[in-house]
Amino acid sequence: MWLVMLGLLLTPAITAASATAPLASCADWDNRFQQSLTRATVPEVLRRILAVHQDQGFTSRFAETKHIGLLRRPLHSTGQLVFIPRQGLYRQLNSPFQQEMLITDRAIYQRYAGGATETIALAKLPAAKAFVEAFLAVFSGSWDTLHAHFHVYFSAQESGWQLGLKPAHPVMAKVISCLVLDGEQERLVALHVQETNGDITSDQFLDGRILPESQWAAYRDRFHWPPIE
């Protein structure tokens, strides 16, 4: 059936050979991480980090570098993102052009510089929905949510820590090879996403900070979009 098309687009077997990725988030995985964690084996450091983020919002300016194998040079962009639990992830691109995006577990909303908006309901796009849910899970700070979508790995050094995530959902696994979150103490510093075709996106969080519930109201307007039918 036609609905397989999204799956088709994600099938590595028929993709073009990807160019060599400059960074390799998933490379050397076994040396960087030990075996995947269970609730019982979650280290104390990670417990503390998760506890700090659980049920909290998050905001940061970001600088993104995207390495697409089929392009000769990386794509750079900057902007700001705001995550509020149960409301979604708001992402404002400031350069190279203006674009607003709200990702919720029901839809992806986009607003361009001219004011034109686009809504993609996720109900009929299971692959995209799986991707979005997993993406939102990264910011949730909840072990259960993370573990529902990923095989979770963790390593900590003096300089900081890394949370490695490998998709558990087969649909998601067709798109994403791994995600790695870099952090220092309880602070989130960077997010690296490596796709199955080798493309890598790295977001540096320039001034990441936790948003307690008392501050959510200040961002309310960014989460108000036309309802989907």
């Binding site: 059936m1 036609w2 609905l3 397989v4 098309m5 999204l6 799956g7 088709l8 687009l9 994600l10 099938t11 077997a13 028929i14 993709t15 073009a16 993104e64 995207k66 697409i68 089929l70 392009l71 000769r72 040079r73 990386p74 794509l75 962009s77 992402r91 691109l93 190279p96 052009f97 674009q99 995006m101 990702i103 992806i108 986009q110 361009y112 109900a123 009929k124 796009l125 299971p126 692959a127 995209a128 991707f131 979005v132 993406f135 087969p170 649909v171 798109v175 994403i176 996403v193 796709e195 075709n197 493309d199 996106t201 039918e229």
Partner: protein, 775 residues
């Protein structure tokens, strides 16, 4: 002797037809009217229902996906190897590639409508480049950029996104079509049955095979859940229920006849004789119906079983006189009874033949079956019984208890006829509230009583697939495939988009064939539209370089763009290709020189606009079976009421001609019985539909019998006649009472209506004597 000869011929012919042509039809649609307005539409509807009717859906569910996958693959393999299926779709791993193989090379000919609209704009290329940039910077860019080097303007991802938006709630996981609901993983298998879903033997084989697969799967994976839905399952359940009805009604009626015969007439000879006209009548009716219709509807058979209660009437009348007569004159008794028996049989047959005047095929069959059964029973009683029952009854001097009851009833009516009539009038007057509260429905769903568990399972499965109104569809026809596809494209554009003033499209289509198989005209126009990009080659190339795409990729893009289009996608190619698997039912094929396409509909928001638009095109049909049948049933219900009214008038005229003014009294019991029946139906909260209307004819047929018998009876023989009537009515009430317990709404309606009506007609029958007394 002549009659014995006729019976022998009828028996032989029936034996021949039963042995050779025995085919039991369980399709409830066979009861419904043929569309006499548009034979072409009827044939298309059959084509569509054939295509849809053979589709079977299977859902395998388990909490653990891997277990579910293993079980689904096993079931898929079994089904593929089974001769029960023409085709089975469960392995979608190749189809992913099939889609890509077919459509990616055609990306300049088969375009997403949004891309096509953009290309038609003067600055379309700029919009496409901007769209590319916006996509590249999105976190979800992975969904679109896999083929960037070969499709830099993202034509193919746009097409795939359109298909995704029209998709159901499933996705492909490890080559299986899967989804999740309530925490359970499930996979869907679709199949086309290789057999007629209404064929009895095939249904039995199918059910047995399904049960075996379910057992085998559970043996290997204990918690696996397998559900399925198909017309065959509904038909099979209906058949089984009708078989239960037939068995219950036949056994119950025969048992009633045996008990009444033995308790009243006390001899095995009476019992054997009582069964003779029943057997002869029903066996002949079977043969005649098979000869005339080529098959027998299961409903006819169930209804025919209730005929036992009517066929026994003539025997009981003769037996009642034999039981009481001293001295016994067999021929003379028959001669005296003949006018009443003949008139009774005539009115009953007339009332059944009224059913034959309706356009409902199933009812015509019932009418022929019943009329034949009654006539043969009547003939057998009249012509054979005087020869077979020559000796007086041994207990003629000792009246049976029922006789005393009959005498008591006659005495009661003789003594208290005024109070009784007053009570009747008051009762009927009070019952008028029931008449006012009687609800009327013409929906075919009121006639449809499918097993709740199967209906619930079917609805649950259709919900998983996102189907909301599976019955409604459009049929688009054309002189050629090209013209049909072009019409569909126009309709899709007109009806699938919201009009300027509203937000909802008039109609929400299911998968539309032209999204996968556009017309030649559309493919050529799409390709021409893409050629406008060549005029902006420099600007596009510069922008793609700026984005970072390699020069060879850009060069390759323009080379493929300016190349002559590939051979356009023809229906023959599409139908043969793996990519069309699961969509081929949208292509109904050629019939009578026309190509027909099926267009499933999910939701209708503006039916009037839909009808207005469709009316502008030849060969486009909006098919809503429920609405069509409701309209037809409304017409037939009104016809049936007119028919019943006409029959009552006809019988009344016949009675006036035969009896003069006495005819008014004779007519009164069946007329009041019909009124009481309607009141009772209202008070019981029944919904009146076509079948209740037709059952009024049966009340007339039997009710007038009772009146005539009593009217024709000499005063001294009234208790004997009343005894015969009581015996007849008891068997009739038993037969129709059992019919009213049927699971089939059609039979239940006829059974209940006739049960109430016949009971009322019997109780009121003594009124028929008053005319005679006054005259």
């Amino acid at each position: 002797m002549v009659w014995v000869g006729i019976l022998a011929v009828l028996f032989t012919l029936s034996g021949y037809h039963v042995a050779r042509n025995w085919r039991l039809q369980t399709d409830v649609l066979a009861l419904l009217p043929q569309n006499e307005r548009d034979p072409a539409l009827e044939s298309l509807r059959r084509l569509a229902s054939g295509a849809l009717g053979r589709t079977a859906l299977f859902v395998v569910a388990h909490e653990q996906p891997q277990v579910g996958r293993d079980a689904t693959r096993q079931l898929g393999a079994w089904m593929t190897a089974s001769p029960l299926f023409e085709s089975v779709h469960w392995d979608y791993s190749r189809q992913q590639h099939a889609f890509f193989d077919l459509y990616f090379p055609l990306r300049y000919q088969i375009l997403s409508p949004s891309i096509r609209r953009t290309l038609d704009m003067p600055t379309g290329y700029q919009v496409l480049l901007k769209r590319l940039q916006q996509t590249l910077y999105q976190p979800t860019s992975a969904f679109a950029t896999r083929f960037l080097d070969r499709d830099p303007l993202l034509f193919f991802p746009a097409l795939a996104q359109d298909w995704g938006q029209s998709s159901i709630r499933l996705h492909v996981d490890n080559g299986l079509l899967t989804g999740r609901e309530n925490g359970r993983w499930y996979a869907v298998i679709t199949a086309q049955l290789a057999f007629n879903p209404f064929g009895t033997q095939a249904q039995i084989d199918y059910d047995a095979q399904l049960a075996k697969w379910r057992r085998d799967l559970r043996q290997a994976w204990p918690d696996i859940q397998l559900t399925s839905t198909s017309v065959a399952r509904f038909a099979s359940a209906t058949r089984q229920r009708i078989h239960t009805d037939i068995a219950r009604i036949s056994l119950g009626s025969i048992l009633g006849v045996v008990l009444l015969t033995l308790s009243t007439f006390h001899t095995l000879k009476h019992l054997a004789l009582a069964l003779l006209p029943i057997g002869a009548g029903i066996w002949s009716a079977l043969g005649l119906s098979l000869w005339l219709f080529g098959e027998l509807h299961a409903l006819t058979l169930a209804f025919g079983a209730s005929l036992i209660g009517i066929c026994i009437d003539y025997s009981f009348h003769y037996f009642a006189h034999h039981r009481m007569a001293m001295p016994w004159r067999p021929q003379l008794t028959m001669q005296r009874l003949l006018p009443a028996l003949s008139l009774g049989a005539l009115t009953t047959v007339l009332s059944y033949l009224g059913l034959a005047l309706t356009p409902l095929v199933g009812l015509r069959q019932i009418a022929v079956f019943a009329s034949c059964g009654i006539l043969v029973s009547f003939g057998t009683v009249v012509l054979c019984f005087p020869h077979l029952l020559r000796q007086p009854h041994a207990l003629a001097h000792q009246p049976p208890r029922l006789y005393q009851g009959a005498q008591w009833t006659i005495d009661l009516w003789n003594r208290f006829h005024l109070p009784l009539l007053t009570i009747c009038t008051l009762g009927i007057g009070l019952g008028l509230t029931g008449l006012w509260s009687l609800r009327i429905s013409d929906s075919p769903q009121a006639l449809n009583a499918l097993p709740q568990d199967i209906v619930a399972q079917d609805q649950a499965m259709r919900r998983l697939l996102g189907e909301t109104q599976p019955q409604i569809h459009l049929i688009v026809t054309g002189d050629s495939a090209e013209s049909a596809l072009q019409t569909l494209e126009i309709l899709h554009e007109r009806l699938g988009q919201p009009p300027a003033s509203t937000t909802a499209a008039p109609i929400q289509f299911g998968p539309v064939l032209t999204d996968f198989l556009p017309s030649m005209k559309r493919q050529k126009a799409n390709w021409s539209a893409t050629q406008t990009l060549l005029a902006q080659r420099q600007a596009i190339a510069a922008e793609l370089v700026q984005i970072g795409l390699a020069d060879p990729s850009i060069e390759h893009f323009f080379q493929t763009l300016q190349r002559s289009p590939l051979p356009f996608l023809h229906p023959e190619t599409w139908l043969r290709h793996d990519a069309s698997a699961g969509l081929r039912q949208l292509w109904l094929g050629e019939s009578d020189g026309h190509v027909s396409l099926l267009v499933p509909v999910r939701q209708v928001h503006d039916i009037q606009l839909v009808r207005d638009v469709i009316a502008r095109y030849n060969g486009v049909y909006y098919v809503d079976p429920i609405e069509d049948f409701t309209r037809a049933f409304k017409r037939y219900r009104r016809q049936s009421i007119r028919l019943a009214g006409g029959a009552y008038l006809l019988v009344f005229a016949l009675l006036l001609w035969r009896y003069g003014k006495r005819g008014v009294w004779i007519m009164l019991p069946p007329l009041l019985a019909a009124l009481i029946t309607l009141e009772a139906l209202g008070l019981l909260g029944q919904t009146f539909h076509l079948m209740h209307g037709l059952a009024l004819l049966l009340i007339l047929g039997m009710g007038v019998d009772y009146s005539i018998f009593l009217a024709e009876s000499p005063a001294d023989a009234e208790p004997t006649t009343m005894l015969a009537l009581t015996l007849s009515a008891l068997t009739t009430l038993l037969s129709f009472g059992l019919l009213s317990l049927s699971n089939q709404a059609v039979l239940q309606a006829i059974g209940l209506t006739t049960l109430i009506g016949v009971a009322a007609a019997l109780l009121l029958a003594p009124i028929a004597r008053y005319g005679r007394r006054s005259s």
